[in-house]
Symmetry: D2
Subunit: 254 residues, 4 copies
């Protein structure tokens, strides 16, 4: 079918060495770069700037933990059912990093890119986008939060850190411009949520939209390991099971 | 069944804030700690030392990438089949972080703990362990490597970094003692492999054995996202499929 | 958030009995219905007709096996990596039952429903659909096959079995009408593939479009268990790994 | 590494046909065999007897549904988080078919095999096994149930169906013999649970112990698709999430 001989630029190894993106893992990387630097290097093939590392760290720290989310509940239940396979419990939880909660990151990033590329300028396109979504009564990706009202506290912090650490700020400014127009179009304030803010910050460091969701996956994998450790010491899974089973009434006949 | 009201010490949130392990995510963590520091803090509830952070970084960097491993192949195939769900591709690859390749980390860690707790001392117990495995002709977890011969290059580097960064070195020393006795019992040199070295280094920073495999899961999740980005730009999945299909002969009748 | 007390009509149990959709599992179902009948009953809450059972059996038999597909390769690799958790190997393979190969079933079903609901009649709408896809140069879901040319052999068989077993044939006829118009619009013959045929046959038995992909998931889960049994007796995973690793050239520097 | 050229006896295909285990899928199988017959044929390479089909049907029907189990809860939460990928929701739920609930099937099957192979006879070995587990205070796989007391209603039904449908009954008789000895050793009645009964029934049809857990995986995959359909029409996921989040108290500081 595809006859072309396939290639990879990521990694190769032999008896004596492992090379990642042209660097010697043992000589050049272990003990010299942080995990976050290594991620950016493996992903892009270029040594990251200090700004890129700090911004990615901020994003990973932001996304890692939000308590008993659906992903954390899933991981705890699967760990209880299959403790022989810790990797299964993490994988099951990660399957929840889908379109409902995290997919809006990609949607928001697409809007930012649309504004930045618009011949008529960011401001004019922001007006257009806000009106378009309002008229179609569609949810605007990156805006609104069910709990954090009126404002998601993570958003201003992420922007502050990004600018402090040397981001140019073009993506952030575009999203803030959109936010002003959104408030006008809706006639009330919608918060930029953390997912929206992260789309802007990842845009600042050139993270490809295709793998933005992957950053959430990496961060959550760490959070879920923490939930497994707690579950192993202080179990909740049986309580969750029985509470859910007892709380959902059977309406079939008996 | 379990009537006790369940608790968590990891995270809580309200309209205005998110608290992780007693710290305010926005005020105290975002922009102030690296992802690796955040992991250790969420996992243990205590602010990590610089040594702990450096050693965990070294371990995460070591485990992240080893080229076209079974996990990377799986992630690439699933991404091609279900590009709508990047998280599925990562989760599928992580399901390969199982007993065959990474499970030996826990086994090696258990041997180190056994030596350190032995009333007769590390050396005497190391002799015993080496003889026990040799007599039972069992594979010794943490020793031997199919490709990296005579020595896994990652092992001495990990030990060097650990000691340079302030590890006490008890776990490392115990594993090195065992290595000497293993070579005697086998009558030839077996390398301490990276998985074994990591068991010792994670022991140095007090990582609970129950979640050591989780560290590999976190690290690999980052590596797999890199493979997805490359796959999206330079596909290999169809070549893999057809090469495998063509290479495995059908022996049933037609 | 959602205050309404949730309900289920599927199943309840107590010390002495398990009820599924109002039937007593032990008294009314075990030993009296086939697995396929049970599926339809659990899914719909109504005892299936003989026609429904026969058609669903035909679909499940059709989808179960197609050799060393990406899903089967994935299952074999994960089984080798984590033999302690057979369920992981099946789950990993099922993650490949995504939009690329099976998602076209839903797309084809939507086209059939569109034709059947069209005020201007099936034939007129079929002309329109064929032209629409042709002009937009979009792949038509349910049509074409990379290997099975000029015709997918499963398609006529599925239609024959469906009609023999008492299907009314409305969905099948609509798809056949579309096929004629597609050949005209493309100026050459495109086969109705098995996925398209299955969309029509599942339409005949009233299977909701929302879970059509689920039928493929169920069927493939059985196929994948067969691959695990063979892998446990006659391994291929290490050969797959090394063949892929050796066949993909590293283009980074060393 | 492994130089031997790998083979498969399961399936091959070309432009015009698909062969499974030497049979032509289109000519010999679709419309002629049930899903359960197809499973046995693909798994073993031999056309199953009527007894084998009936017993496997009984087992699959038994295992398919038990209400809001951890697997069903997980599937519903993941479906809500990633509705774009129904396969993920099923896969996540299946990851719960692990050692805790279903793994006992393999353990019970091993005990039955041990009794049947014992030179001193089934009865004598049953006495021994019961005493061994009792002395070591270990849970006996296949015995006891948290809800179904004093007896699991599925067990006598499965045995009755098996014998009615022509099973020889050796495995069932061995398990019943063990049950008598268990009651003596424990000084009270322990039920043979469904998992134990299924181990015996699958033994009657020659199902390899290595894939017994796979039978549960197949059956549950069907049950989980039913839960997805209900969830799409009558959601419970948000209620589950908020009930769990509200019910687990945060004990860290704020």
């Amino acid at each position: 079918m595809s006859n072309k001989s396939p290639t990879t630029a990521i990694c190769t190894s032999d008896e004596h060495s492992i090379h990642v993106r042209g660097a010697d893992l043992v000589e050049d990387l272990i003990g010299q770069v942080s995990f976050t630097e290594m991620m950016l290097f493996q992903l892009t093939g270029e040594r990251p700037t200090r700004t890129q590392v700090r911004l990615l760290d901020a994003v990973l720290v932001t996304l890692m933990e939000h308590g008993l989310t659906p992903s954390a509940i899933v991981t705890r239940l699967i760990y209880d059912s299959a403790p022989e396979a810790l990797q299964s419990a993490v994988a099951a939880g990660l399957l929840g990093v889908g379109s409902t909660f995290v997919g809006t990151m990609e949607g928001c990033s697409a809007l930012i890119d649309e504004m930045l590329a618009a011949p008529e300028g960011v401001q004019a396109r922001a007006v257009q986008i806000a009106q378009r979504f309002r008229e179609q009564r569609r949810a605007l990706p990156g805006f609104g939060h069910p709990i954090h009202k009126p404002d998601d506290p993570r958003t201003p912090k992420l922007f502050e850190v990004a600018l402090r650490e040397g981001a140019i700020g073009q993506h952030i400014a575009a999203l803030q411009t959109l936010s002003v127009e959104v408030d006008k179009a809706w006639g009330r304030h919608l918060t930029i949520n953390a997912t929206g803010a992260i789309a802007a910050v990842l845009g600042e460091i050139g993270m490809p939209q295709a793998v933005m969701r992957g950053i959430a996956v990496i961060s959550r994998s760490a959070g879920l390991v923490g939930h497994i450790l707690e579950e192993s010491e202080n179990p909740t899974a049986r309580w969750i099971w029985h509470t859910v089973e007892d709380g959902i009434a059977y309406t079939g006949e008996r």
